[in-house]
Symmetry: C2
Subunit: 186 residues, 2 copies
């Protein structure tokens, strides 16, 4: 056995070690992720992402914070400086189902040559604009289409498709997550 | 009245015109947003965001696509090249509640000097790792704390807090969105 056995770019020995550690001590699987947003002007804001808690400790490996800007398109009174929040939700979903399929495929020994996905989300802004109480502010439905390439048979293709059920963002969008919102005076 | 009346960076005349147009023709409020993701390696992927449909037509004002990378931290077998998908979900939520409060405050004539928010999300990766069927893959709960500064009274502060109910991403996370996932062979 080589010192490192990698499938789909995923180090299977480290993945196996992680699973063993979490099986022995389930509390290691508890993570807290965070994001801090600062409003700039109109629909333009900037989010900073750095620290998180997981595997029993604060992460210290990120030396720099990531910054992510959001804005609105012109028709939603923005200045086209960045994607809007709804598009970032679709991006989060896309990246999550991709990563989930890649990791779980690796664990099953299914090698992928390529994986792409497109996400489409329908929203009726009458909800956001408070023009119709019967219209929800959020997405009415979201469609994810994945295209996988590699040397796998049809049974494995069906298994790959089913792996999206483990995606944390897919689950967070498909099923309700309690979200509390507090506001204080600065 | 000045030619342009802006509150919180939001052009109130354009906002009013949008509301009038949608009230007259509700189908203008139907939007389709999109994201296209390409897997790079392991937990690393790149999403492209450009076109969308809304106000009865395809948008043509974005001349360049936005690209957004996602990766995983070291402890999740990534290389710290970008935030992960769960963090992007929190970022989308943060940007959305911020923008929603800013726009709706503007419509009510409440001027903000500043608005910040922090978002914390708890997830137990036993769900993602398929180690415990009783643990969901997604976030168990998310907490948003907003800090608003400006010349408003306590009644207006309470009103500001309530405006997050119109946030499309908050609604999409708090209440279930049907998500279909199809996979095809490339």
């Amino acid at each position: 056995m080589p010192a490192t056995h990698t499938v789909n770019g995923v180090d299977l020995e480290r993945l196996s070690a992680t699973i063993s550690a979490v099986t022995a001590e389930p509390s290691l699987a508890r993570f807290e992720f965070r994001a801090g947003n600062q409003w700039l002007d109109g629909g333009h804001s900037r989010t900073t992402i750095k620290g998180f808690y997981g595997v029993g400790q604060e992460d210290t490996t990120r030396t720099e914070a990531f910054t992510v800007e959001a804005d609105e398109p012109l028709v939603l009174l923005g200045r086209n400086q960045a994607p809007n929040a709804g598009e970032y939700l679709l991006q989060a979903l896309a990246a999550c189902v991709t990563g989930t399929v890649v990791y779980h495929a690796a664990a099953r020994g299914i090698t992928l040559d390529g994986l792409e996905c497109t996400v489409h989300g329908d929203v009726d802004l009458q909800g956001f604009l408070d023009l119709d109480e019967g219209v929800r502010p959020g997405f009415e439905k979201i469609r994810v289409t994945m295209t996988a390439t590699g040397d796998f048979d049809d049974e494995q293709l069906a298994e790959l498709a089913s792996l999206a059920r483990f995606s944390p963002v897919r689950d967070s969008v498909s099923r309700p997550v309690p979200v509390s919102v507090d506001m204080v005076r600065g």
